[in-house]
């Protein structure tokens, strides 16, 4: 079995969330690599949408680090205004989006705006960018983040990107009749949401990770699916693909 690090595992898990032919609102960092991996493997007809006004059907001819890098514009299917691509999102034409966060809670609400430390002092973070829009308007969204106790809290300090609020029925009530987080991919496992309660449930453990470790790094009594599985490890082919898209291991990080 090839060696891999947590980032590579998360990229592979993210790629598996994309079905062929889906329209994907692509973020930066690991989700971007997950999207490229999906297109290179099981989802060659997935279409990428980027908030700066880019729609791509073909993978960029050269590696990119940010969405505005010129290879990401070269041979795009559409270069338009942010409002035009946001219109695709708002009219329900985006199947899945990916977002990261500094803090997440048991109902999948995300905070990337401001966190309050144990000393009561607030730390200012960059803010929403497009994340709030993706969480409100994509047909489903996937959250990727590092799994640490300070990040997995019972209730986020600030809802930047709505998940299921305080549980079932909340989205409908506040005016978000569809969407919501489908899964959370962390450094420890993959989590999904109980359709009845909208609460986050441990669904897959990454190889070598124990339930106890996940519980100890989660700030609420975590529910676990009765059908807990192990996250499939990346294959050699997948790792080679990832290396092609991130040749300097800029986002993937140090080799294992």
């Amino acid at each position: 079995m090839p060696a891999y690090n947590a980032s590579e595992l998360m990229i592979c898990a993210a790629a598996r969330e994309i079905a062929d032919g889906e329209v994907v609102f692509v973020g930066m960092r690991l989700p971007l690599l997950g999207f490229l991996l999906a297109k290179a493997t099981h989802a060659p007809h997935a279409v990428g949408v980027y908030e700066l006004g880019v729609v791509r059907e073909e993978t960029a001819a050269a590696p990119i680090l940010t969405m505005g890098d010129l290879p990401n514009l070269h041979r795009a299917a559409w270069l338009a205004d942010t409002a035009d691509v946001m219109g695709l999102l708002q009219s329900g034409r985006v199947d899945v989006s990916f977002i990261g966060g500094a803090q997440v809670d048991r109902f999948g609400n995300l905070n990337t705006t401001s966190v309050v430390g144990t000393d009561g002092a607030a730390t200012r973070l960059p803010g929403s960018g497009g994340a709030c829009d993706l969480a409100c308007l994509a047909r489903r969204h996937i959250i990727l983040m590092a799994h640490e106790q300070r990040r997995f809290v019972p209730q986020v300090d600030y809802i930047t990107s709505p998940g299921y609020g305080d549980g079932f029925g909340w989205r409908e009530r506040v005016g978000l009749p569809q969407g919501g987080p489908a899964s959370v991919i962390t450094t420890l496992g993959v989590f999904r949401f109980d359709p009845a309660t909208c609460e986050m449930v441990l669904s897959a453990l990454h190889p070598g990770i124990s339930v106890e470790e996940v519980r100890s790094k989660t700030g609420w009594p975590l529910k676990i699916t009765s059908a807990l599985i192990e996250t499939p490890a990346p294959s050699t082919a997948e790792l080679a693909m990832i290396a092609r898209f991130d040749p300097q291991r800029f986002w993937t990080g140090a080799a294992p």
């Binding site: 010129l70 070269h74 299917a77 270069l79 946001m86 219109g87 708002q90 009219s91 308007l137």
Partner: protein
């Protein structure tokens, strides 16, 4: 006939199915219309106003005898009048229906005055905002226009509202989501990626708002020619349902890069539509007599086409999308 609550509720809708990049959408115009314009459809056309009007696609609708259509567009020039004259239409949502160069649309007048046709009267701006709302997945858009006019009395998709920030009176315009947009473009590939240039009118928002987009195109080109200039794409291929290759498909309206406006055809149409009988003759010759797109070119004749082709060329400077 008018159905504005539906229009208003239409702002959010289903995706019509997975997009497959590599499957050709190239079909005959007859097949495109047969498949995507069932009786009862709402059809947006004439979206670049005077230019690039999809006459060939409209005539195919007429030929196939579609019924109970709702037509949507800002100013329609004579295409709407033709479809109305053929009895295809029960409702028009438009800012202006007539013959731009001569004035009245006689079939339109007859149909309205006889009670056979319902009209939802827009202004160009309320139409633009209704389609923009549809494009953006919103149920309405505000505007400052039409206040004090009688458009409100004949247009249930138009209401007065108060700005939640400033308290001023505004018009609220309900979204319009056409079942299908008919657009004519200069060049497209077989997957629905295309370039359009010139005056764009409400084409972009109308296409983004519509459930299906049918392209007719002057030229079929390789995909790489389109993706070499993605800012020139007005509607992305993933939103297009069918592409048909129809040179001269916008005649007698003008198409930048291809041909000028055939003013004489519009002038002739005034007399050809003045009575129901004259219109029947026009229709027999210019629509029913055209079994396939090539027949139209024969009817037009090379000499006339030559007078309409561009006499002066003016090419854009290339831009570089390299890296």
């Amino acid at each position: 006939m008018l159905d504005p609550p539906a229009g208003a509720a239409e702002g959010r809708r289903r995706r019509p199915g997975k997009h497959t990049v590599t499957s050709s959408k190239l079909v005959s115009l007859a097949d495109a219309i047969a498949r995507f314009v069932p009786d009862g459809s709402s059809v947006a056309a004439g979206l670049c106003l005077e230019a690039m009007i999809p006459f060939a696609a409209g005539h195919e609708i007429l030929r196939q005898g579609k019924r109970r259509l709702t037509l949507i567009g800002p100013i329609s020039d004579i295409l709407f009048d033709q479809l109305i004259g053929a009895g295809c239409v029960t409702c028009v949502r438009a800012a202006w229906v007539g013959n731009v160069i001569t004035g009245s649309g006689y079939n339109f007048r007859r149909a309205v005055e006889s009670g056979a046709l319902a009209v939802e009267d827009h202004s160009n701006l309320t139409m633009a905002m209704a389609l923009k709302a549809g494009a953006m997945g919103l149920p309405f858009m505000p505007a400052r226009t039409a206040l004090g006019s009688d458009l409100f009395s004949t247009h249930p998709g138009l209401k007065k509202m108060t700005c939640p920030f400033t308290g001023v009176t505004l018009a609220a315009v309900a979204a319009i989501v056409p079942d299908v947009a008919l657009v004519h473009v200069q060049r497209a590939d077989v997957f629905g990626n295309s370039h359009a240039w010139g005056c764009l009118g409400v084409m972009r928002d109308a296409c983004l708002a519509s459930r299906h987009v049918l392209l007719t195109t002057e030229e079929i080109v390789p995909t790489e020619l389109i993706t070499r200039d993605p800012n020139r794409v007005v509607i992305p291929g993933l939103r297009v349902s069918a592409v048909s290759h129809v040179p001269w498909g916008a005649h007698p309206s003008p198409v930048p890069g291809h041909y000028n406006r055939d003013h004489q055809a519009f002038l002739d149409y005034r007399d050809q539509s003045r009575s129901a009988g004259a219109f029947a003759l026009w229709r027999e010759r210019w629509v029913d007599g055209v079994a396939q797109p090539e027949d139209y070119l024969d009817l037009l004749g090379e000499e006339r086409m030559q007078t309409l082709r561009l006499q002066h060329h003016a090419f854009s400077e290339p831009v570089d999308y390299g890296y």
